[in-house]
Amino acid sequence: MVLRLIERTAVLLVSLAVSSVLVFAFMAVLPGDPARVALGVNASDEAVAELRRQFGLDRSLSTQYFDWLGGLLQGDFGTSYVSKAAIGPQIFDRFQVTLWLVVVAMVVALVIAAPAGTVMAARHRRLSGLALSALSQVGVAVPAFLAGILLIMLFAVKLGWLPANGWTPPAEDPGMFLRQLILPALSLGLVQGAVLTRYVRSAVLDVLREDYLRTARAKGLRPFPALWRHGLRNAAVPVVTVLGLQLATLLIGAVVVERVFVIPGLGSLLLDGVSNRDLLLVQDVVMVLVIAVLVVNFLVDLLYVALDPRLRVGSR
């Protein structure tokens, strides 16, 4: 158990170090000069060179990397090339927005997938199970942004029930916050829910074939109570794995959905940064996303252990 924890932590730290090098290297080879973008179409070469100096882009790559890494370790994300504002607070603000979106979408996905997948598995030879199965296939095929556009057309433009886009912080106006959150969270959650449903279905199907469940049924429990009491925990292990991976997909998927719904989250910050060649900002945002994904995977690893006692007996 302890050994496993140490091993996982080491893997996490090494992954973080390697990815910081990769992120930095990608930014360094990205075509387009941030100083030239800031100065516009008629800028002289001298002016561009001067601005490069101000941005610190004339330093050697290794100096730039270690300065950046050193700052990160102290929680200093640096100052944006373009807006001249500190990057840390911006990322913090935007990350909260994206976090709301991702967490609520995850809840939507779970609320759909857990029951639907179970029903599909339990009735996999019957019409209702097949119909649900077909429906989930459609859901898997629809990209989140398309789901978003369709939801906007129906619920905002046609019916006028919900706002088409925008974002209000929950502290400012909770009612408006919820109304604006519903459609984007649904468009992310429905699609992820459809994917997750497939995994829940196969996990539950596996469990249904197990001897202990047959025993439970033989004791006289009806199908669903038997599954609820004896099957769910066993089915949860593969589902949690997928959930962790999906959280990463959701974070990235949020970039596109934020664009469709005009939500000032991490994704829109990233896109703006890319087009303005605000490289330090892009580097920081990507690094934060990488950290988030790696940490989630780390936690999922730990969660296995909690779910499955067999993993606690360290054969590895």
Partner: protein
């Protein structure tokens, strides 16, 4: 066991519906009804990267701030005429080198300081000393700026220049407070009808009415500029009442949903945005005037405009929009004639040559590029299209390195004929005759300026220094009861001061 999974779904669904239903009821009054709260929300496309246009380029910053937060000494009215702003009047000496401005005496900056000629001197000198964007070059011609009295300013030029006064209507001429330039990127200080309120990055900028404004106070006490990257999201925001105005329509094919709805008004006018099919005049193939002219004649501009901009916009035939005093319709210089174009290319030995059309990733460039390609291939050229990410990749590859044969981009700066067609710019157009005409226009009196600029516009059209696909239209959609919206968008600012609700 308490709840079965199926029941949980039903409950969640019911909860969601209840939330939707009740909040739809309570939210319906949040749209401002006429005269209720005097606030306005305008949807725009590009968000500023910073609020400091002295060090960061890009049209979005002056669009939000110039004329609204900042005033200049002079400004341009809707017809293109130069009219007073902070300068009540001005005179020009007979040798056209000394400008004497009489300034208003009641203007105040939003930091409390009074505006005087010392601020004007400070602002003009600051362009030369502290600005970093390339636009600052327009101030090079100024020799000295002197405060004669608090309301009298004298500016001496090193040579006569009509262009200088015109540039003073742009962001170059913005007046800054001597005590208010510390935080230009986040906290601009000006004398305008609005003062800067808040900036929610990635979302909106809020401007508040400046109750100490020296001129006519604006109708709305608060204007929100909301930024939308996605044109569909922008349209939806107006359709659902989140905003009251679409400042610039990006996708003209989507206009029909507004023209057919009597809740909205659609305003169509002109801009300074000439959409150029640029030629790299330093490439051997473009050194032959027959090739350049043939390309112009091979393109059916009317059909192109219909296909790639829904027929909105204007055919111009040179680098001058209709609002400039020296505008002439030059579309007849190179009329559409495929047979002639084919023959000319044959004679020049260019038939079968491959040209690289390197496009920025902008919707109009992408769709016009396809039309240009197919029309040029009909007369015997081969065209390969490259998409370059805009702005970064395009700026470096095409604009800086001139590594291209042809490109398509809208040049939106006002009076930019001389800036675009010279040997140093990416057009690599080296033409002493044109430079002579431009110099004479800049140095002469107003009549000379008009006549020489007409010759210059004709010169580049006849020389086929590029092809002018069309002039971008100014397309604004707004709630029906809004007044004071500008017909033409020919200045750098989105003028909020005259907007009102009837």
């Amino acid at each position: 066991m308490k709840s079965y999974p199926t029941r949980a779904v039903a409950l969640a669904a019911a909860g969601l519906l209840a939330l939707t239903a009740c909040s739809a009821g309570s939210g319906s009054s949040s749209n401002s009804s006429p005269g209720a709260d005097q606030a306005l929300s305008i949807g725009l496309v590009a968000e500023p990267a910073s609020l400091d246009f002295t060090t960061t380029d890009g049209a979005a910053i002056p669009q939000a701030l110039l004329g609204n937060v900042y005033n200049g000494l002079v400004k341009q009215d809707e017809t293109g005429k130069i009219v007073p702003d902070l300068a009540k009047s001005w005179t020009v000496s007979p040798d056209r080198k000394l400008y004497t401005f009489t300034l208003v005496d009641n203007a105040k900056f939003t930091n409390g300081a009074a505006f005087t000629s010392a601020d004007a001197v400070f602002s003009i000198d600051r362009v030369k000393k502290n600005w970093t964007t390339s636009l600052k070059a327009a101030m090079d011609v100024v020799q000295t700026a002197k405060a004669v009295s608090p309301t009298e300013l004298q500016v001496t030029l090193s040579k006569p220049s009509n262009d200088w006064l015109f540039r003073m209507t742009t962001r170059i001429g913005a007046m800054f407070s001597q005590t208010g330039v510390d935080k230009l990127a986040t906290d601009p200080v000006g004398t305008g009808p609005y003062k800067f309120g808040t900036w929610k990055r990635g979302d909106s900028i809020v401007l508040q009415r400046n109750d100490d404004y020296w001129g006519t106070k604006p109708f709305f006490n608060q204007v929100t500029l909301k930024y939308f990257k996605d044109p569909t999201a922008l349209n939806n925001a107006l359709l659902t009442g989140t905003i009251n105005v679409i400042g610039t329509v990006q996708a003209p094919e989507a206009l029909s949903q507004f023209t057919s709805n009597d809740k909205y008004q659609v305003i169509e006018g002109t801009t300074n945005g000439e959409v150029l099919l640029s030629f790299n005049n330093s490439q051997p193939v473009f050194k032959d005037i027959r090739v350049r002219q043939a390309i112009r004649q091979a393109i059916d501009h009317k059909a192109l405009l219909d296909t790639c901009f829904a027929g909105r916009g204007k055919l111009i035939g040179s680098m001058v929009p209709p609002t400039d005093p020296w505008y002439e319709d030059l579309t007849s210089v190179a009329p559409y004639d495929q047979a002639k174009a084919k023959a000319a290319l044959q004679a020049a030995g260019a038939t079968g040559k491959t040209l690289r059309l390197r496009l920025p990733t902008l919707p109009y460039a992408t769709s016009c590029g396809q039309v240009v390609k197919s029309q040029l291939e009909q007369v015997g050229l081969k065209v390969t299209i490259d998409q370059l990410e805009f702005p970064a990749a395009w700026l470096t590859t095409v604009l800086k390195n001139a590594d291209y044969d042809m490109s398509i981009i809208a040049h939106v700066e006002p009076r930019d004929l001389g800036a675009v067609f010279n040997a140093k710019y990416y057009t690599r157009y080296d033409d002493p005759t044109l430079q002579g005409l431009l110099a004479a226009a800049d140095a002469g009196d107003e009549a000379t300026q008009v006549s020489e600029m007409k010759k210059a516009a004709r010169r580049i059209s006849e020389q086929a220094a590029a092809d002018w696909l069309f002039l971008l239209p100014n397309l604004v959609v707004a709630d029906k009861n809004l007044t004071g919206l500008p017909q033409n968008a020919i200045t750098e600012s989105f003028d909020l001061s005259r907007l009102a609700r009837s």
